[in-house]
């Protein structure tokens, strides 16, 4: 609760600040130039979070969110290493974008109407479809959230999680008891120790909770998704060119997967006869120039970082400890929601 109050306070004050600085934020345009001049991309990512952005043993950030920024760095500089990652607390992430402390938030925020309309922010295409779900112990034999009458549910404070849960169950007229646990590690332990019947969070979180259980098969994720949590990259409003770059690098990673171009085989596609692939990889046409980038922008991103599938499989996919399946984050041609407009 306290976090929510703080957050809304901070957002309110920030909105005031932006109103006061209307003229100044107009001069905050030309992010691309600032990035090139700095020779570094400043990329906002969550506080360390497994699979999305956490340090490895050498202190290098690994994860889905990190790789999105690396792809962007490749597209801009032809080098995935020119990124400085900034861990941001959820309470300050939007202000960090507004004040120019970071150039973008990489897939860190759920796209919502009010954020887009009132915070002076813009969003890239959806990069990861998440949703709030519920997980229970298999021993309970519960098959659906409808059967959770009177159940206790472990939740984390400070996000919209409790709100979503309350809304959902109220609409279905089901009584439940929320057990609020302050810290992620305790929250997991509380559930494993049987202090609550169910645990709720974004499905990607639940997958990682399940992954660390002694026996993951003891736990089942219920089929209901009780809220939509589409996440995307966030940029400052008012710099159309920068937004286009972030948007089309995002689309490019998806389109590459659809065209079958991946990190391993991208060079073989340089001789492709397909005119769209030629344009994407900068063999013909001037797509990169139109964005203010090198024509090899997307080729570099795919070659150095990989397409959407490469990134997903490397960081959060079935073969990683998180073990997420593609689900909605599958190409539209395979029954998912990822869809990129044509490159022409």
């Amino acid at each position: 609760m306290k976090n929510t109050v703080l957050k809304s306070l901070a957002v309110g004050i920030a909105a005031l600040g932006i109103a006061l600085l209307g003229a100044a934020s107009a001069s905050a345009q030309a992010t691309l130039e600032a990035v090139k001049k700095r020779d570094k991309l400043l990329c906002g990512i969550p506080m360390p979070s497994a699979g999305f952005g956490a340090p490895d043993s050498k202190g290098v950030v690994q994860g889905f969110d990190a790789d999105i920024c690396r792809a962007l760095s490749s597209a801009i500089f032809g080098d995935p290493g020119k990124v400085d990652f900034v861990h941001l607390n959820p309470n300050v992430r939007f202000e960090a974008v507004q004040s120019g402390e970071v150039d973008l938030l990489s897939r860190y925020a759920t796209v919502t109407f009010s954020r887009d309309a009132s915070l002076g922010l813009d969003f890239s295409p959806i990069l990861f479809y998440d949703g709030q779900g519920l997980m229970v112990s298999a021993k309970l034999g519960v098959k659906s959230a409808m059967e959770l009458k009177g159940a206790s549910v472990c939740v984390l404070p400070g996000t919209t999680t409790i709100q979503n849960l309350t809304d959902y169950f109220r609409a279905k007229n089901i009584k439940f008891e929320a057990v609020v646990v302050e810290n992620g590690d305790e929250w997991r332990r509380a559930f494993f120790a049987g202090r609550c019947d169910a645990i709720t969070s974004d499905l990607s979180d639940l997958a990682s909770v399940r992954a660390v259980a002694n026996n993951p098969a003891d736990f089942v994720v219920l089929p209901e998704t009780i809220s939509k949590e589409p996440t995307a990259a966030t940029v400052r409003q008012g710099d159309a060119n920068w937004r286009d770059i972030v948007t089309w690098v995002s689309y490019g990673l998806i389109a590459a997967e659809e065209a079958g171009i991946n990190q391993a085989n991208v060079d073989t596609f340089l001789t492709s006869e397909d005119p769209e692939i030629q344009r994407m990889l900068g063999v013909t046409g001037d797509l990169g120039k139109m964005l203010g980038l090198d024509n090899k922008w997307l080729y570099n991103a795919i070659k150095q970082v990989g397409n959407y599938e490469d990134i997903f499989d490397r960081t959060i996919g079935p073969k990683t400890p998180l073990g997420l399946s593609r689900g909605e984050n599958q190409l539209w041609t395979k029954g998912g929601l990822l869809y990129a407009p044509p490159f022409r």
């Binding site: 004050i13 360390p48 202190g59 290098v60 400085d84 309470n91 300050v92 120019g100 590690d185 998180l322």
Partner: protein
């Protein structure tokens, strides 16, 4: 039996036992109630010690990776082998960890040196300035083959130390000035001091950090930016100064007014009176309170995680978020963090007791 006489040791041992008999033994076993309490505590300590020992060493996992730890029952030492460096130094470039390490050692060494009363002199102050400059240069780099490392990549223990101890060191003189200002006869200075102190004490540290990290950049002219770390450092200094000021004021008020009057009667002007008569006595009286402030701020620096700085506790948590280790070494990580904070806090409070004894001895 005869052989026993050959050895002095049993005799010496029983002698050794006899000495504290009227001291420790009587204190712990003097009455049946005391003896029972002592025994109970010893049993409890033994049981805790046994569990801790088994967990730490006997059942511990010494080699292998996350999988071995997942199966094993005891402490997971490979976690530290893999993650210790990140926990200590955060995102500082891996190959140059000797830099934060040497800065940290220099800093701790200087702290140790300053704890010895014989070393207290103006020269020590100069040495401190030099040491801090060296620490800063070693951390920043950009010369002599050291790559330049921006403050955004600083983290872990050096960052926690810097925020808390540099913060307190700077806050201390500022706090004394504020306390003097608050008790001053000059209305303007008094009002400014009161407003500052009451404002800082009236808001939580988190809000001050928020203001420094979120609001400040929005009001700065375009293109100008001050590193988050510096902003946090200034926020900590200002915040700590208000608390130090109130502690010092308490110390000033504890002195009988005769001290002020006597000093004035001797013809000392304000600053000399304060420096020679009042502050030395006041500070002596405030040592426990000041050390509490120090310990508080050392632990409060963990709040900077809210503005995205990676203090020691956050780097420990970050290490636990590696997908390979997630959920496996939770207890180990938190215990390690607790042990480090506990160690430094214990050193501080032990030192405060030493200072109290020393000054009381000087006083009598």
């Amino acid at each position: 039996m005869a052989e026993l006489d050959v050895f002095d040791k049993p005799v010496a041992l029983s002698e050794a036992w006899r000495v504290p008999k009227d001291g420790a033994v009587r204190r712990y076993f003097g009455t049946p109630a005391n003896a029972a309490i002592t025994l109970l505590c010893m049993i409890a300590l033994f049981l805790i010690g046994k569990v801790a020992f088994a967990w730490l060493f006997v059942d511990a996992v010494w080699s292998g990776g996350p999988e071995a730890c997942k199966i094993g029952e005891g402490a997971c030492w490979p976690f530290f082998g893999d993650k210790l460096r990140f926990m200590l130094f955060g995102y500082f470039p891996y190959d140059e960890h000797w830099r934060p390490l040497s800065a940290l050692l220099l800093f701790v060494g200087m702290c140790g040196l300053s704890m010895v009363p014989r070393m207290w002199s103006a020269r020590l102050l100069l040495l401190w300035v030099a040491a801090l400059v060296v620490c800063y240069l070693v951390m920043t780099g950009g010369f002599a083959g050291m790559t330049a490392v921006p403050t955004t990549k600083w983290g872990g223990l050096p960052l926690s130390f810097m925020l808390s101890f540099v913060g307190l060191t700077c806050a201390f003189p500022l706090g004394i000035l504020l306390a003097l200002g608050r008790t001053s006869n000059l209305p303007a200075i008094r009002v400014i001091s009161i407003v500052f102190i009451e404002f800082m004490r009236g808001v939580p540290l988190i809000s001050v950090l928020f203001m420094a990290s979120v609001m400040l950049p929005l009001f700065m002219p375009g293109g100008m930016s001050v590193a988050t770390l510096l902003r946090a450092q200034v926020a900590v200094i200002l915040f700590a100064a208000a608390y130090v000021a109130e502690t010092v004021r308490g110390g000033l008020q504890s002195l009988p007014s005769g001290q002020f009057e006597a000093a004035q009667a001797m013809g000392l002007h304000y600053w000399l009176m304060m420096r020679l008569v009042i502050l030395p006595q006041a500070i002596k009286a405030m040592i426990p309170a000041l050390v509490s402030t120090c310990i508080n701020f050392f632990q409060d620096t963990t709040l900077v995680t809210i503005i995205g700085l990676l203090d020691f506790l956050t780097t420990v948590r970050g290490a636990m978020r590696d997908p390979n280790w997630q959920g496996i070494a939770v207890l180990e990580g938190y215990l390690f963090a607790a042990a480090v904070y506990c160690l430094f806090s214990a050193i501080m409070s032990a030192y405060s007791r030493f200072l109290e004894r020393r000054f009381r001895a000087g006083h009598d």
